[in-house]
């Protein structure tokens, strides 16, 4: 009502009713005045000049090379560590065996070792997770995690190693790893000698297509540049994935590529886009669009296609590892600096290289298994593995032998030979150059 009559304290009108007059003659303050004084107060405080002081503190002292200070990670340091019977494990979502909301392999681990596991799934993408734990590492504080899982094709793993933010692994606690780890992930190019990391799972970035609509997919990445499928092609928005595929398409091995070749690959991808071939640049959501027919062919992760295939509705989805090669990536377990339970972490990491345990994980996951011997366990399970696999079977719906026979879980020689590695950036400038070439493609207008 006030607004309609006008309550401006200076406003003078003859013949007002008594209520209004009372409002006029007594010192009151309106909401507007209140807002104004709030603004003035905040303004006065802000003039203080934060400008130069505000910012983000960096790792100015951390860059002391790849060996952490204080002998952390040496044999002598490890000898002093004790088990605390608890461990905090950070992983990606849907990346471990699940049965009725529990994780059989983790329960088995606790039973065997008495170590309680707090398993969380806070990692959705590498750079944001790195940005999240970085402040703790800079402040020389526990990140809250004893084990984290990072991908070799994304810059943060290199950063973590370069800044000395990973604890070198205890060589004496890698019994299972030394015995069972497969050739693809033992002594890998991104971490020679497995000084800091042990693989969790691997996979290919290859091509997924709908075989009911595409009868002759061919054998090449050329399918993603085929005008026949114009507007029905999905590409990945991640610059590392996109750039690597562009390099394969121009016949270059990404691992040994040069900057001038990157530019050529970017040009090829730009043309693909400006010709209207690409429907959109997707994150993990490409798989839904492939399932519902929005796209017919797409860059795809091997495990996704395999998992989709398990559902009879999506039987038509097929994986194609092109003759140019499938990009092989690995998610790696590592122990961040200042971890409070490093010995428990080591115990858990090595535990997952037991073929029995890995068989159970793979029955659910269907990514590339780091332990080739798990194949035999899936075919002829015994003991704990048999109990767990049998319990999971009604939910998975397929025999464990199907997983055992899958090329995308236990690849043969040819698959391994066709695998290609990602480019390892040698400097920050290289990474910037790469991103400046490939990011504008995905977020162009």
């Amino acid at each position: 009502m006030e607004e309609q009559h006008g309550t401006d304290p200076g406003g003078q009108r003859p013949g007002l009713d008594p209520a209004i007059r009372r409002g006029l003659t007594q010192p009151r303050f309106s909401r507007r005045q209140l807002l104004r004084s709030a603004g003035a107060g905040a303004g006065a405080l802000s003039i203080g000049g934060f400008l130069a002081a505000c910012g983000v503190k960096g790792a100015t002292t951390a860059s002391s090379g790849s060996t952490p200070a204080g002998g952390v990670g040496t044999a002598a340091w490890w000898a002093k560590q004790k088990l605390h019977h608890k461990v905090n494990f950070a992983n990606w979502p849907y990346y471990i065996d699940v049965l009725k909301g529990k994780h059989p392999s983790l329960e088995h681990f606790t039973q065997q070792t008495g170590i309680q596991v707090t398993y969380t799934e806070p990692i959705n993408d590498n750079p944001p997770f790195y940005a999240k734990i970085r402040p703790s590492l800079q402040a020389k504080q526990y990140t809250g995690y004893d084990i984290i899982v990072t991908t070799n094709n994304s810059p943060p793993l290199g950063y973590l190693i370069d800044f000395g933010w990973l604890i070198p692994l205890d060589r004496s606690m890698m019994t299972n790893f030394n015995k069972y780890a497969g050739p693809l992930i033992k002594n890998p190019s991104w971490d020679p000698g497995n000084k800091y990391t042990m693989a969790w799972q691997s996979g290919w970035t290859a091509i997924g297509y709908n075989s009911s609509m595409i009868q002759n997919p061919g054998t090449s990445v050329g399918i993603l540049f085929d005008k026949k499928y114009s507007g029905k092609i999905g590409m990945m928005s991640d610059p590392q994935e996109l750039g690597s595929l562009g390099l394969l398409a121009i016949g270059v091995d990404p691992a040994s590529s040069t900057e001038s070749e990157w530019a050529k690959a970017a040009k090829k991808l730009q043309t693909q886009k400006s010709d209207g071939l690409v429907r959109a640049y997707y994150d993990q959501s490409y798989i839904d669009h492939l399932k519902n027919g929005d796209i017919l062919v797409s860059m795809a992760w091997s495990g996704d296609i395999f998992q989709a295939d398990l559902n009879s509705k999506y039987k038509a989805l097929k994986l194609l590892i092109p003759q140019e090669g499938g990009m092989f990536w690995t998610d790696n377990m590592c122990i961040p600096m200042y971890a409070q339970n490093p010995k428990d972490a080591m115990t858990l990491m090595d535990f997952y290289f037991d073929p029995q345990v890995q068989a159970v994980v793979e029955y659910y996951n269907d990514y590339v298994c780091p332990v080739p011997d798990a194949q035999n366990v899936l075919r002829h399970p015994t003991g704990w593995a048999k109990t767990a696999l049998d319990a999971m079977r009604p939910e998975i719906g397929l025999a464990p032998s199907v997983t055992a026979d899958a090329q995308t879980v236990f690849p043969d020689e040819q698959y391994i030979k066709d695998s290609k590695n990602y480019y390892q950036y040698k400097s920050q400038e290289e990474l910037t150059a790469w991103n400046n070439l490939f990011l504008p493609i995905t977020q162009g207008s």
């Binding site: 003859p14 003659t25 960096g58």
Partner: protein, 304 residues
């Protein structure tokens, strides 16, 4: 200014306290303290940090930033991404206009014909928005997919060509924005229309105004502050939105929000992201002031 003539108590005005007690003098400031702190901690400090960061040079590996007064960042980012700015303004503007056109009749109808069920109708307007923003958008993605329940059936009935699609187009993005921000338009408009004294309308009719004239010369002018508030509350968030574009859009309609998100999360390029955010803020402010001038609205704060 002439002295007010107060017939019944002529002495009141002159007896106004000349030296108010300290408590009373401080009252407005004390009362505004929570709001002031809120503005300071959640708006001004982040704003200053952002502006400061945009002038620093950052290392994306270590996250270390050094103040270098690098004004070039703005030019560089603008030369790379000016088209995305234009796309954003265009999309957000289109969505806002659609929202204003759609929600005006709704708000008008509820305010004038809602009777004693007004609250119920308002609730009905809001109920869909109790579901999370992202989920609603993803469901649209599902409904509008190429072979989905709508387009798929129409295609099977040969009413649409096989290659017709809605998703991955600019139209889908604008529609998504318009849908998601509808309540932000409808509610301020409702408040503005609700406040109109119905007798004013009767007076207009008494003076032989046609329905059209009554609307254009009475209702519309009285709702201008509400229109302005609705515009602000819709256009500004839509301008920086990236969810709709990422879920419903395709390759050639990237909005600036996506670019900023990528700068911060994928590239860990804090300086670039901050510079883009600062430009976005400036664009929004310029837009708002231009619009305020245009409508001559001085009573915005009454409505938002």
């Amino acid at each position: 200014m002439e002295q007010p003539v107060l017939a019944d108590h002529p002495g009141l005005v002159t007896r106004r306290r000349t030296r108010p007690r300290l408590g009373k003098a401080l009252a407005p400031y004390l009362l505004s303290l929570p709001a002031g702190l809120w503005l300071l901690v959640l708006f001004l400090i982040p704003l200053v940090v952002m502006l400061s960061l945009s002038l620093q040079t950052c290392n994306s590996a270590s996250g270390a930033c050094v103040m270098t007064w690098h004004w070039g960042e703005f030019g560089q980012q603008l030369s790379l991404y000016h088209t995305q700015f234009i796309t954003s303004i265009y999309f957000a503007g289109a969505a806002t206009i659609i929202d204003l056109i759609v929600s005006f009749p709704i708000a008008y109808w509820i305010a004038f014909h809602g009777g004693n069920k007004k609250n119920f109708f308002l609730l009905m307007l809001l109920v869909p928005f109790f579901v999370s923003f992202v989920i609603r958008t993803v469901v649209w993605e599902f409904i509008l997919s190429d072979q989905g329940i709508i387009l798929g059936s129409l295609k099977n009935a040969h009413l649409l060509p096989q290659n017709f699609h809605v998703l991955a187009t600019g139209y889908a993005v604008v529609a998504g924005l318009a849908y998601n921000y509808l309540p932000f338009t409808a509610l301020p408009l409702y408040v503005a229309i609700e406040r109109i004294d119905k007798r004013v309308l009767d007076a207009a009719y008494d003076l032989y105004a046609s329905k059209r004239q009554a609307f254009l010369r009475v209702i519309l002018p009285l709702t201008i502050p509400g229109l302005f508030a609705a515009f602000l509350l819709t256009f500004v968030p839509a301008l920086g939105d990236y969810i709709n574009q990422q879920i419903l859009g395709g390759t050639s309609n990237t909005m600036i929000g996506t670019v900023i998100q990528n700068a911060f999360l994928v590239n860990l390029d804090y300086a670039g992201g901050s510079a883009l955010s600062a430009v976005l803020l400036a664009v929004a402010l310029v837009g708002i002031f231009a619009y305020a001038r245009l409508l001559g609205s001085r009573t915005i704060e009454e409505y938002i």
